[in-house]
Symmetry: C2
Amino acid sequence: MQRIKMTLSYDGTAFNGYQIQPNGRTVQEEVQCALKQMHKGASIPITGSGRTDARVHAHGQIIHFDTPLSIPSENWTRALNAQLPQDVRVLHTETAPSDFHARYDVVRKTYQYRVHNRAASDVFRRNYAVHEPHPLNVKEMRRAAAHLIGEHDFTSFCASKTDVKNKVRTIYRIEIERIQDELVFTFEGSGFLYNMVRILMGTFLEIGRGRRSANELVSILEAKDRNTAGKTAPPHGLYLLEVSYR
Amino acid sequence: MQRIKMTLSYDGTAFNGYQIQPNGRTVQEEVQCALKQMHKGASIPITGSGRTDARVHAHGQIIHFDTPLSIPSENWTRALNAQLPQDVRVLHTETAPSDFHARYDVVRKTYQYRVHNRAASDVFRRNYAVHEPHPLNVKEMRRAAAHLIGEHDFTSFCASKTDVKNKVRTIYRIEIERIQDELVFTFEGSGFLYNMVRILMGTFLEIGRGRRSANELVSILEAKDRNTAGKTAPPHGLYLLEVSYR
């Protein structure tokens, strides 16, 4: 048996999220279905670095699985892509040590969130960026972001329906760049709780609109109460960009 | 009655083209359906500047129609967008003289064609640019384009199934720009025959790959025979960018 590590990219628009479920099309199911064809009907379960919600995109989701086949890495990429639907692609394949784990060995994750910030909406971005027609105060959102850098208990920024006990995470970097008519938010951290990036984004957007002040971040973190933070921003602006391992 | 001129943008991916037909979803039908709701069930036929094929996109399709309603232009845009599906948007509305005609009064049309020119395909551009993994000789394609500028009989670049008799058109400009990992082709002309931009693109791509020489354009034009030109390039790289009137 050989453990394989793969980098996947997918357009989340037509997926009901990453993780397999009874109803709806998922990334995990499509990949396992393609692997099954390559393994003459044998089931090959895959493990991802984490879930992504319905309509959330990925440039660099990481998965691992074990296979009895010996195929050179480049050929894995080509062979699986030939079986996969067009909205999920293998970008890279490599062999990994037999104890490599796509979820437990993560040391850093990077997400991006795209906000199309112009009066008129753009038909070509309706599934790929959140449209915010009103001006946003970038300076104030950057001040808010500064409060989050470092190790914190992010209970206030975690969806209530979660099994995770320890809600302490470290955020290494939050960057807000203006790229033409978009604001692109980059979040880099040790890991992120369920809906954490989307709740952070919902809070930033309220601050950008002037409905909250940047300093409120301090009391929101201290409250450890989901109700004190902003709304959960829509899924389709979010991209899992990169997952790093030791 | 008031004649209205509107600018539409649409993502062609889920449309069976612009023009209404018995089977399949079309842009014309969606717009007429939205207008019907605004006119309490009365049918309001619209006229476009021309058809676009299934999966072809538009940044600036122009339509006209007549209406008994008196509504300020800005409100037309907002009201129709509220009724339309998300993949077609009104960008601009203005009142027009009663003899304005969206098709007959066209003096210039501009199309763009996007080629994603990198080894690996990109899941987010699969419906918005044609993927060409092999290197393309831009200099040679520009030499080919130069042969087409001016007034020519474009019979060789017109799909055989057409009713149009006069196949003389004028091309004012063909530009080929490299923008990051894409080649963007811009075509500006007095008008374009059925499939003309796509057949021009198919021919350019064969020249870019070194399968034909730029000088062949001269004999292809002279032959007045569709079989002498290249293949018809796929629809999803094509955008109707702008329509100009006198």
